[in-house]
Symmetry: C2
DNA sequence: TTGACAAATGCAACTAAGTTGCGTTAGTAT
DNA sequence: ATACTAACGCAACTTAGTTGCATTTGTCAA
């Protein structure tokens, strides 16, 4: 809930209109702490009788990423996931069997040091990184 | 070149037949140090007049991963890439514009420590991790 | 050297994620 | 209230990956 007003302020700043779909999508991200894909969003909004079009959702997520409200997340399947960029930077534990995802917080100092080192050495401008751990969650270990 | 014989020994050990496609695929990975996707492989083998079927390639990569010859790599697009598992574990610098990929070697001690910590804390069995840095390569910075 | 048998292949049909073009709808500022 | 344009919805399309099944081909034992 806590990021809601800040995000709507960013939308106003970028002169993005407050449409039904945009509002619904933003609120989904505010309420959920897990990364969401387009199929996830379509399913969730369909359940709430909100008729949303997939093309619209794809375009919306692109825009929200462009203005820095959302960040891309890769979870190793062939879907693009997103999360609120306003949350503290973190990484994920992903279950290879049931797709369960847990946030993990770690000290990034080492990663940033590596970024500087390789940026210099390979002449790359590094914009972001992705670090995810894959394995089996507690439930799936039993089965 | 250097992993060729070891890999064929593993194939024999697992009683996998030495077929044309299998041989061609393995040799592509041995020759290329970059991660390869199915579309990459189809294109490469098609250029060399080797008629390969996409279903066969998908199934082949699955098998080679199952016996530990290949490892999955995620580069942030919606393709599954693979690399030789026999190479030293490493990570990647990926250009968001031209898809160029550079290998980077870093000290994993910190990552392994994190794995143990979160494994205990979240009751996950961690099997592998994926760490990739995204940005712009030297060529794409100019453009 | 030759078969037999299973492993591997090829094809067609299919699914799922994501993209594009274009005509229509609807927020917003004046 | 109106006009302007951002945003939307739909249909058609692309690309990555999957599945079932009939056919081919490596391998090993006779
Ligand atoms: Mn997260
Ligand atoms: Mn590599
Ligand atoms: Zn699980
Ligand atoms: Zn580049």
């Amino acid at each position: 809930m806590k990021y809601r007003e800040e995000i709507f302020a960013v939308l106003r700043f970028h002169k993005l209109r407050l449409t039904k779909t945009r509002q619904a999508v933003v609120e989904l991200f505010v309420r959920n702490e897990t990364p969401l894909s387009v199929p996830d969003i379509l399913l969730a909004l369909h359940k709430r009788q909100a008729g949303v079009n997939k093309t619209t959702v794809y375009r919306e997520l692109e825009r929200l990423q462009a203005i820095g409200v959302l960040e891309p997340v890769q979870l190793g399947d062939r879907k693009q996931y997103y999360e609120l960029a306003s949350r503290k930077h973190h990484h994920h534990l992903v279950c290879l069997q049931c797709e369960r995802v847990e946030d993990i917080d770690m000290d990034e100092a080492v990663l940033f040091a590596e970024e500087r080192k390789w940026s210099r050495e390979k002449h790359f401008i590094i914009l972001r990184h992705s670090l995810e751990f894959f394995g089996l969650c507690r439930q799936c270990q039993a089965a």
